[in-house]
Amino acid sequence: MDSILSNAKLEPVWHTNNKIIFLLASLALFLIIFPLFGPSSFYLHLMIMIFMYAVMAQSWNIIAGLSGQISLGHAVFFGIGAYTSSFLFVEYGITPWIGIFIGMIFSALVAVLIGIPMLRLSGHYFAIATLLIGISFQLVFQRWELVGAASGLWIPLTEGSSWFAFQFHDSKAPYYYIFLIFFILTFLFAWRLSRSKIGFRLRAVRDDYQAASSLGINVAKYKIIAFAISAIVMAPMGSLFAQYILIVDPDRMFSIEISIIVLLMTVLGGIGNIWGPLIGVAILIPVSEYSRMYLGGTGGAVDQIFYGLILMLICIFRPAGLISFFPKHILERKKQR
């Protein structure tokens, strides 16, 4: 049974032959023209959720898959993104388009500030610390009067749709395209990152930090960089989701369920591979949305039972994720002459 980190063969699908490019291009084209078919708003919502969670899972994949640190409090960056853009809009009328970028900067700052003291932690201690940080942030925001404490921020409705205020009341299509753009950008970014020098150094740190350190890689610096990049990818999703549902409250934005689900989707699909999160999301989000539709509400927690079960089963039987079911020749890099 392969373990997650030792299968160097399962690195990204990065041999860019014509077949793969054609496949990806046609998929992208389909996603672009999808709203033109006039799907019901449920399907648009479903696709929006898939894009959003795919980006979030990719963010988790960068910290866990590339640098090998398990974060159990990733909702922190989601919440910071959501709160920053919403607060700026509600209090100062700054358009969320700028707020998104300020949220990314804040998120990266928090990641660096958290990262510096936690540099020396590894493994279990890091995971426990992130779990505590996630809960601490929720606790602080629940009692922080400036940002509305437990009831959160309510984003005022505009009359009609407005690009400035980032609100579209007639149709979900604008949201769809905005999420789609972020989704494509994130995947291109993750793809470039995994091939870049930073990506290789991060993997070296992950696989053997002593060897990496002896080759002159500043282990501490790269761990922080990975954490900050991961935070930067996560934050815009918080901002966009806040504009999508128009309410920001600590229970939803800093929910531990967000931290759980990004972990689950990545582990299910295949950790450390940029396509892993996409596979996990494509399976879990429809299941979750349909189960919410048919089983109703969150009170029964039926979906959570399945999440826990899936997570345990995948850890026992397929620790490399569902992507390891794909034939080897697709996953492996072609030997270069």
Binding site: S6, I70, A127, G300, V302, I305, Y307, G308, C315, P319
Partner: protein, 288 residues
């Protein structure tokens, strides 16, 4: 603020600390034995509180008398956890181990919520009720009794681990799994025993707490977090370290709540965690 109020906070922190210590001891035992952190520890605590609650509500058994049954059930639960889950991930990477026990915690909590709804429950009119007064300090009887039972269980655990043959076998397996197997200590059985004892500790703590604590599906989360902190503070795999660490956490929690702001209790404990893992990663009583 008078001296008496502070003394009152110290006493209640001390009583709570003894319970944290026992919960942490179970976690530390498993952690030290097989280097796996049981992220479902809080959910196991929740299960033991519910076991005690159902024995009271269905059979009319007072939580004090149902302790042995609860402990036995939790021990079986520990063996089953080992047999069905942990056994398979012993040699896996740490990433997989964290995800597996984290998955177990989600599963147990969601299942409990599904079966029993997230309502708050409590045991009405337990045998132990009321409070006693010593020199103007009020001590709740159930709290006092729970802490004493936990301390007693802790002493038994300590004697078991350091004095009996099985306990020494556990220690040997914790130090070097393969060397222990060579001298004839079956590591798989030791792991199962470790899980049984670890969750048995949780059973004692949960059973006693069901006397005076609200019982609901998320009750274990904070206790598990405090237990993680206590294990880090007490030192990796050190059982006696957990006792001191648990008491320190109990005191910080209650004094911090009294002197600064009670709603941020978790943050003070978290600050201790960060200080310890940064400046003394081996913990206060760690061997290395």
């Amino acid at each position: 603020m008078t001296f008496e109020i502070i003394l009152q906070a110290v006493v209640s922190g001390l009583l709570m600390g003894l319970i944290y210590a026992l919960i942490a001891a179970g976690l530390s035992l498993i952690f030290g034995l097989m280097n796996i952190v049981n992220f479902a520890h809080g959910e196991h605590l929740m299960l033991s509180m519910f076991s005690s609650f159902w024995l009271w509500s269905l059979l009319g058994l007072d939580p004090i008398f149902s302790i042995p049954i609860t402990v036995l059930m939790m021990a079986i639960c520990g063996v089953l956890t080992h047999y069905f889950l942990i056994r398979y991930i012993l040699k896996a990477k740490m990433l997989v181990q964290i995800c597996a026990t984290f998955g177990l915690s989600i599963f147990i909590r969601a299942l409990a919520q599904f079966l029993w709804t997230p309502d708050f429950r409590s045991v009405d009119k337990p045998l132990l009720e009321g409070r006693i007064e010593i020199a103007n300090i009020f001590i709740g009887q159930p709290q006092l009794f729970a802490s004493l039972v936990c301390l007693f269980a802790f002493v038994i655990l300590y004697l078991f681990v350091t004095k009996t043959e099985t306990g020494l076998g556990l220690q040997a397996t914790a130090q070097d799994r393969e060397a222990a197997e060579i001298v004839g200590i079956p590591s798989n059985r030791m792991f199962a025993i470790g899980w049984a004892i670890g969750l048995g500790c949780v059973g004692v703590a949960g059973g006693m707490m069901s006397n005076y604590f609200f019982i609901f599906t998320d009750v274990g989360v904070n206790f598990a977090l405090f237990a993680f902190v206590a294990v880090a503070l007490g030192g990796f795999g050190s059982v006696i370290g957990c006792l001191y660490a648990g008491i320190i956490i109990g005191l910080v929690e209650s004094l911090g709540g009294l002197l600064i702001d009670p709603s941020f209790k978790l943050l003070y404990v978290f600050a201790i965690y960060l200080l310890v893992v940064i400046y003394r990663p081996q913990g206060l009583f760690g061997r290395y």
